[in-house]
Every structure is written in C-alpha cells, then in structure tokens.
Symmetry: C2
Subunit: 342 residues, 2 copies
DNA sequence: CTGAAAGCGCTTACAG
DNA sequence: CTGAAAGCGCTTACAG
C-alpha cells in the first residue's frame, strides 16, 4: 500500500536525465526546454512524485514554518487570532505550528526550547499570565528568530507587537455609559498585574475625569480571572453598596453577562436601572438577553496583523526595518444592555 | 544580533573532536565517556548550540509533525478538539501544523497537496462540508501517510475514525424529554446531507418509537447550517403549528438557545410549556437563562483520542494494527431548560 | 539547454 | 571510547 516515496533521483533514472535537470524542470526553471519540462512533469505525475519540501527547505535553509504560542487554543479570542494568523500565513505560503502554554511559564519555556530546534522562521506569542522574564525568548532572538507578541506583550522587550487600544476602548465604553445618562459608573476589572487590564482601568478613570465625574474606588472591583463566577460575586457587591451604580463597565464579556443576570435576578432592570458594557464581543454577547453592548476587539484582524508583520520581518533580508507596535482600533458595539436613549 | 547558528561541526572544531562524537555526546550515547559528554555539553551551552532537529529528522526520515485540517479554527468545537490534539501530541513529542479548509473542497485539496510535500507523519481531518470524494486523501495514503478522521468522517474510506455516538446521544436527549412528560416532541435538525445530523435525526425517531410515540414529520424542521437565525425561524414555525410541541430536541446549542428565546418572547414558559434540549454543551449553554440541557460532546477527548490513535498508527512499524472507529460516549447534561420534574 | 559536484546539518554502520 | 565516510533529497554555482 505505501510504496516508498519517489525522489528526484528516481525520476532522473527513469528519464535518463540528471537530477539537476529534473529539479529545474519541476521548478519551472527558464533554462529548461519546454519539451523536457513536459516530459518530466508527465513522468512525475505518472509515478506520483511529491517533492520533498522539507529537504528543499533544508538545503535552502528555509522551513516556511511559523511557530505560534497561545495560552489556550479553546479560548475564543485566541482561536480567532489563530484563525487570522492561519489565513494570512496560508496566503503567504507559510505553515503554522501551534503550541499552548496553558498559562504555565514552565511549559512556555519548554516550547521555546523546542522552537529553537525546529527552525521555525518566526514566532508569534501571546504570553502566559505567569511570564515575568523573557530569557527564553531572548535566546531565540539571538538565534536570529523574529518574534512578535500580541495582546499580552512584554513591556521591556524589543520586538514587534500587536495590541488593541485597551485604554481607548475602555474610555469609549465608559464615555458611552456617561452619554446614556449614567453618573455612578462601576468597573469590574481584570487582574491589575496584567498590563492590558490596567490599561482598561486607566481608560475608565480617564473617561470619568474627562466628564468631570468624581472617581470612586468603592465602585471598582478587581477580579483574578474575570471569570463568570467572579462577575456574579462582583455584581452582588455592587448591589450591596449603600448607593449602587447606575452603570458598569466590565473588562470582559463573561463578567458582564454574569453581572447582567445577577442584576436581573435581584429585580433591577437592565439597562433602565443599571446599564452594562462588556469587552470582547464574544458570540454569546449578541445572543444573551438583553444583547450585550461590548467592545469588538478584532481578534481575527489581530492575528492577520501579527502574521503580516512577522512575515515582513522574516523576508526583510537586510534587517532594515525597525520594530513597531501596532495598536488596533476597536469598535464599540452598541446593543440593548446599555441603550437607554433610543 | 543574529549570530549564525552553531553546528555540530563548529563544536567539533572547537573541541578537537569529530562531529560523530559530538553528535553522540549530545544524544547521550552510552559509548561516549562521561568526561567527554560533560565537556561537550559545557561547550554547547557556552556557544548556545541548538541542535537542528529538522536536519536530524531529515536524516532519520522523521518530522515528528502532524497535520491537522479543520473547517474553521474559531468554531468552539474544533478549537476544543485541536486543544485535545495539541495536548496529547505535545506529551508524545509531536508538533501540530494546522490548516483550515473553511469548508471549501478546493482549499481542502490544496492543503492535502501541501501536506504531501511537507512530510507530515500523519494527518487528522474533519472533512469540509463540501467534500464528497476523497481522491486527495487517497494520494496521501498511497504515500504512506496515515490519516484519521474525526466528527465529519467519510463512510466509504478505510481509515481510523473518531466519532461521537450521535444516534445514541439524540436517543438519550429525546428520551429525557419523554421522561419529563413531553409527548409532542419537535426536532430542529441539521443538514440531512451530513451523516452526523442524519444520525441525530434517526436517534430522535428511534426514541419516539421506543416509547410508542407516533412520529410526526410536521414537528421536524431541517436547517442548512443550524445557525442562530435558523433556530429562530424554526421556532416560529413550531409555534405556528395547529398544535405546537411541548418539547424540542435541537441538533446544536445555537438553534436551541435561539428557540428558547423565541418561545419566551412569544410568552411560553421554558421548560414548563415547552422543554428544550440542545447539542454540544457550548460554554454559552450554562450561562443562558434558563441554563440549557444539552449533550456534552467531549470535543477535547475527541482530539485526544484522534491524536492517540494516529500516533499509534505512525509508530506501528509493521502496520499490524487494523483500522478502527472509536465511538465516544456522550453525557446528557441536564439543566433547567428541560427540567420539569424536580 | 543539460550535467557533475558540492553541500545544507545531522546520524549511524563500520572500523579500529 | 572515538573517527572517517556515506548519505538523507534536494538546489545551485560552475562548467560546457
């Protein structure tokens, strides 16, 4: 059943030609005569020749392979980013090899080591949330492997990066609540050890300030993982305040949805008594009742942008282009959960 | 910045040893003296030697690489499967290279061609929904590349396969509705051109039969893609029937959730007046109100099982093991949307 | 237009 | 315990 693979040599012998000629004929080299090319291609087809692109890449020192490290593949945000990466890489003739760090720094280091040896031409990384130092990535850079970071990016590491405008998005979200008439606006925040969640918190505060609404730390609840459960706990705390908020900006959709449900179960009307805005535009946000107003974080575009930038760097022979940080604009997707003024 | 990669040869020159010895020392070959090994390892560390595993693989004719073709990465089911594949492959020392067919037969064929040339050691596939013939995969098999299919599998193709028990799951789901007192049970079905959805439909009918409930074709609505929108349309049709159903089994969670919402908006109580069961146990199903009863389709386990079976086949030197179809058992996850008897 | 030769970075059977 | 040699399947500079 599994006949041994046909090689250039086999074809050469069969056709009484040299392997060089076969190689050139297959590659469509202009120096080869049309008649030879035709003959070679016919025979190749006949024998089921499949060129060994690993061998070719090995010879040419290219693998056309990009390594991708994500915390977890099945987190919708990451699967969307990967989808964007795959799409662009495919168009550009690159393959993507995927690893999940599972938010473990040890696993991330192991993967970095594997990647050193597998000669990927570049790497796209979203840091594990345990990652504080980057020596494992520095080694790769020293070996000449370009690395680009997305979303969770290191601040003190020279590299290409793609992030979304967390500050600006949070500002927009909060401002929207203000425009809808909210004056006591709460915030369910992510882990403040993580820059992106800190930026969202900053954006929230900045929007309040811009609209001369005093910042009230009692209305801000920090969570560990922005889990559905923590969303509920936080919502209960907000309700229990002497004066509860009339709007909440949540750092992701899970906490937002969970908060909406707690408010409703406790007899408050959303958005009339309390308006809610989430962050990420998960599919669920347009399904839940009321539909959730949220930030479209453009995960697919983020993947595309990361792959594009990385490939540019890979193909930038003389290393002429400087590092760059792309900040993707986001949209506020306004739905029912925040819409008081129709 | 990017110093050229150190090779075995460089190390050999540096240490006045032969490349053979270096190679063996790095690999921990027993014939090499401890002192030499120590010396080599020290120097390797010092010079930042990263063995070129592509070259080694090329020499040994191994890539330790598995190709994965899925319709879309960002569909939660597939991202969970991929996660399971990655997890097991990682433990076994394999990398996974991912492609999305985007449900296009043309793209699937292109990918199959790429995979022929990239010398993956095996392939895991969920067929595009356009795929009717399998010549592109037959070529790969002829080249000696094992292929395993999951979920959407070809019926007339000899290969390892992993599927879930669609028939049994649908039977279980429908029987559960009957046990909850439903007597007029509807079904929102997937595209009947796709075997898995046909099997679910069969399971539904079989459960009715087993409980002596007459099958009524008016209660069954076939959809194209089981989309959220089609769920709503179907629900409206069910409501419009002269006698509407008191329970619905839906072939996925999207249609189920959308149906629940339509029923509620139309003033019907779920589950009291109409009970609903979905299929897939998407994260959203435990968040929606009421929580959705659904089938846990064990996507992660499916990925693990596929990778395990594939690797077994890869490493089965003398090709002694016969093809196998693994049918994964599923759980009915009972939640509020169907629970009438507390 | 075609071919002979060298070599990409490893491993391994053979020899000592 | 260590080394010299061959070779995995290609590509490409050099030669004719």
């Amino acid at each position: 059943m599994s006949s041994p693979r046909i090689t250039l040599k086999d074809l050469a012998k069969e056709l009484q030609l040299s392997p060089s000629t076969i190689s050139r004929a297959i590659a469509g080299h202009p120096a080869i005569s049309e008649s030879t090319k035709k003959k070679v291609r016919k025979k190749a087809e006949e024998l089921g020749f499949a060129p060994n692109s690993i061998a070719a890449g090995f010879r040419k020192k290219r693998t056309h392979s990009i390594g991708v490290i994500v915390p977890k593949i099945d987190v919708h945000f990451h699967s969307l980013v990967i989808s964007g990466i795959e799409d662009l890489a495919y168009r550009e003739g690159y393959n993507i090899t995927i690893f999940q760090s599972k938010d473990s720094i040890d696993r991330e280091k192991e993967i970095a080591k594997i990647l050193q040896n597998r000669l990927v031409e570049g790497i796209i990384v979203c840091l594990s949330n345990e990652t504080k130092s980057y020596t494992h990535f520095k080694k790769l850079v020293k070996l000449g492997v370009p690395i680009i970071f997305y979303d969770r990016v290191p601040s003190d590491f020279q590299a290409n990066k793609v992030v979304i405008d967390d500050f600006g998005s949070a500002f927009k979200a909060t401002e929207h609540l203000i425009e809808q008439g909210c004056r006591r606006i709460g915030h369910i925040a992510g882990n403040q050890g993580t820059p992106i969640f800190r930026h969202r918190f900053e954006g929230y505060k900045a929007a309040l300030k811009a609209h001369k609404i005093p910042y009230n730390p009692n209305l801000v609840l920090e969570t560990q993982n922005l889990s559905y459960e923590e969303g509920a706990t936080s919502a209960h705390k907000l309700i229990a305040l002497p004066q509860m908020p009339d709007g909440v900006f949540c750092s992701n959709d899970y906490t937002a949805i969970s908060a909406v449900q707690v408010f409703q179960k406790s007899g408050f009307k959303v958005p009339e008594q309390i308006a809610v805005v989430g962050f990420s535009n998960y599919p669920i946000s347009r399904v839940i009742q009321p539909n959730l107003t949220t930030i479209n974080d453009r995960a697919f575009q983020m993947g595309e942008a990361a792959a594009k930038l990385l490939i540019r760097q890979i193909e930038d022979e003389d290393n002429a282009i400087d590092f760059e940080t792309i900040t993707l604009k986001t949209d506020l997707v306004i739905r029912e959960s925040s819409l008081r003024k129709k």
